[in-house]
Subunit: 443 residues, 2 copies
């Protein structure tokens, strides 16, 4: 307990959008933070390869540098904030900092999802903290809620809208009845989507975040391979309209929960009933519903991305780090600490992605000829998939194929995939691949 520590030195690596937000928050709310914490968060260095672009914040003289390694190695730097992104130099810097016993704060969900075990082991080896509130849910303090606020609970389920880009696209497609490509281009022009949008729209970013949440909930690194992942690329506005007709909104939903076959993790376009709170989350906002065995259902909502919201989460981590460093302790046992045993006291079972069960919304372009629906239903039935309802609108006079929507009973993902492949391979009954989206009942 070194109560005489008055300042905690901070180096920010990566001076892009979020980095600039962190620097701005540390400078503008620095006095407030010092009064709240009893210790000053002192900015010592801001490193980036590009230190000439105007980021809209005035960095004090002499703090900007292009030498990240030197910045993190400074003896007056106690907390290293990694906002470079990716799994290359970011990982190298994090490992260097942890090896030097410095606390690392990062927003890098990709790195955590892909190399979490290695990073947590490095933190343990260095006797250092690794904090990552900003990696999921932007400014929403969801990591803290899961790890601390709900620590008395076995986590039964987590449902999250975790990617602002996808939610923005889906919201605009629905509200303005626009096609996917048009909205994606608009989102790219507005800076809500990257020029190379795959990370977002193919569901990978959401899968990274789901893996981080699952790791916290179940005390064990969840391999990305265990996360059934699909994105929203190429979604047809017709499906959004059909879903609305049935009382649902389509969201890219991350689901992590205890199922009969172990912990299930999936990211898929999902039909959510209009009456459910998550259906009301629109635009770039994120929300996470967490169900615990003691607390019941809770929900957390806020901006999931952006300079300021993400900075709020990063600075909250720096604050936790500062208090722990001042006290001479680590902040909180890391999930890795309990990982060896899993939260059930034994190794955690993961449900194989193909064994995850749910209801599905299926849309086929079906040959408009008697018997076609029966043939499709037979194939589904052979795979143990029942049909709860069918919607077929009157076909255009000269249409050869008509859209038919089937709502299935609960089916295993693997069986569904096999049935759809069989139907697609059958001669001419359906055109192209079926659309298959999950329907979530939030049991």
């Amino acid at each position: 307990m070194s109560k005489d520590i008055k300042e905690i030195g901070v180096a920010v690596l990566g001076f892009g959008t979020v980095g600039a937000g962190v620097v701005e928050t540390l400078l503008e709310n620095g006095d407030l933070l010092e009064r709240r914490l009893g210790v000053r968060l002192a900015l010592r260095a801001v490193a980036d390869l590009d230190i000439t672009t105007d980021r809209g914040v005035v960095v004090p003289e002499g703090l900007l540098t292009t030498d990240g390694a030197a910045a993190l190695a400074r003896p007056d730097v106690d907390v290293v904030v990694e906002l470079i992104g990716g799994t290359g130099i970011a990982k190298k810097f994090i490992l260097q900092a942890l090896a030097a016993g410095k606390t690392v704060v990062t927003a890098n969900k990709k790195l955590l999802a892909e190399h979490g075990a290695e990073l947590l082991a490095a933190a343990d080896a260095g006797g250092a903290d690794l904090l990552f509130e900003a990696s999921v849910g932007g400014g929403i303090p969801i990591i803290k809620a899961l790890r601390e606020g709900l620590c008395a609970n076995r986590i039964e389920s987590i449902y999250g809208i975790l990617n602002g880009t996808c939610n923005y696209i889906l919201t605009r497609m629905e509200e303005e009845k626009l096609p996917f490509d048009t909205v994606l281009k608009a989102a790219q022009a507005a800076g809500y989507a990257e020029a190379e949008p795959s990370l977002d729209i193919d569901g990978h970013d959401t899968a990274h975040k789901a893996a981080v949440l699952a790791t916290l909930a179940y005390g064990q690194i969840v391999p990305l391979g265990k996360v059934r992942t699909a994105g929203i690329r190429g979604m047809d506005a017709a499906d959004i309209a059909y879903a609305a007709e049935m009382g649902y909104r389509i969201k890219l939903l991350a689901i992590v929960r205890r199922g009969p076959d172990g912990v299930e993790a999936s990211v898929q376009p999902t039909l959510v009933a209009h009456s459910h709170q998550l259906a009301a989350v629109s635009g770039v906002f994120n929300a996470v519903q967490v169900r615990g065995d003691v607390v019941g259902t809770t929900l957390y909502y806020g901006r999931g991305a952006g300079r300021a919201a993400t900075a709020s989460a990063v600075v909250a981590d720096i604050a936790d780090a500062a208090l722990a460093l001042r006290a001479g302790v680590r902040h909180r046992p890391l999930p890795a600490g309990a990982a060896a045993a899993g939260d059930a006291g034994g190794a955690l079972r993961f449900c194989p992605p193909e064994a995850i069960r749910s209801r599905y919304y299926l849309r086929f372009a079906m040959l408009d000829r008697p018997g076609t629906l029966a043939r499709v239903a037979t194939v589904l039935g052979n795979h143990g998939i029942g049909i709860d309802s069918v919607i077929q609108h009157e076909a255009a006079p000269d249409a050869e194929y008509v859209p038919v929507i089937l709502v299935t009973s609960a089916a295993r993902a693997g069986e569904l995939d096999a049935a759809l492949a069989e139907i697609a391979a059958a001669d001419g009954a359906v055109q192209g691949d079926a659309v298959a989206y999950r329907i979530e009942d939030f049991e």
Copy 2:
């Protein structure tokens, strides 16, 4: 740093509904908590004057006692959980525990709101922690979010539905079109309302919680006298219907925010637009919207009361306490630490309750004679209160008085009170007192 501490001793004072939930959670999820925390939360004593009523949980042999003072004084008790309620013996026990340097965990918002300064001073004097996550929002980790997760933010506003009893009554009144008294009696029969319901339905409980949230947000004890408080007692189902017609739902809403005249705190029946997230919070659930200058708008939702949800929050506090005690430090600087200066670096200004400005929904029983509305409008105008809209339905053929609804422009509460008193005192223009509810635009 006494890393060799393997157990933290806990005494639970008050073995009622929540006390039993805490004991149950410590026993049932004790192994899980130990794996997560690296230290065992060991139940050492459970004290209550009544230890014979069956609480639905089996307390280990020898732990039940009627001697609370002896339980908290045990040398093997490190954390004292106060769940007795009220401001008498509960306060005495808390002060004794803090004086002995023991961490106190409490859910007692009334005690915090009325004697918070004294308790925080006692905690400082004893070098002990006082934790109170369960005092607001039941199982929602809202205290932790405000104090830690959002610590980088100046808090701009807090809007909360904080009393499950009132929200349950309002929800049933609206959904089933039932009168207030009928629903109150049903709530009492179901155990959702106390036999003496004043604390809930007159808004006091919500005011206590608003004061606690304001204290955390602004670093200074907010006196209850600064909280403009009104409850839902005797609400007329007609107003719920009129509000619905106008696109609003009526909620008992706590509002704490920075206004031009200082920090405003109020608890009032409030019209919330159907499209706002808080309007969708129904039944016994609670929700809190927090706006920070960095993070923007965030929202937290969950069960606001009840045995298990409240126990989840209490045990989260015990966990924080255990980690801090094991490390030999205090958990987190308390608001009192920053109180002397306020969060702006100087004494905090409170807006006098009568100076709080908002729009209002007013309903008068107006004499059905030409000129009456003009007379009422004139009095309002004389107090600087404009009228944005008027709704008057066709009167019953033989009615002497007809209901007229006025929506005002933003008005000071004091001016409104004065105008309504003047109108009520005028001879015969209106019958009885006007109904006056706040309309919140969530600027």
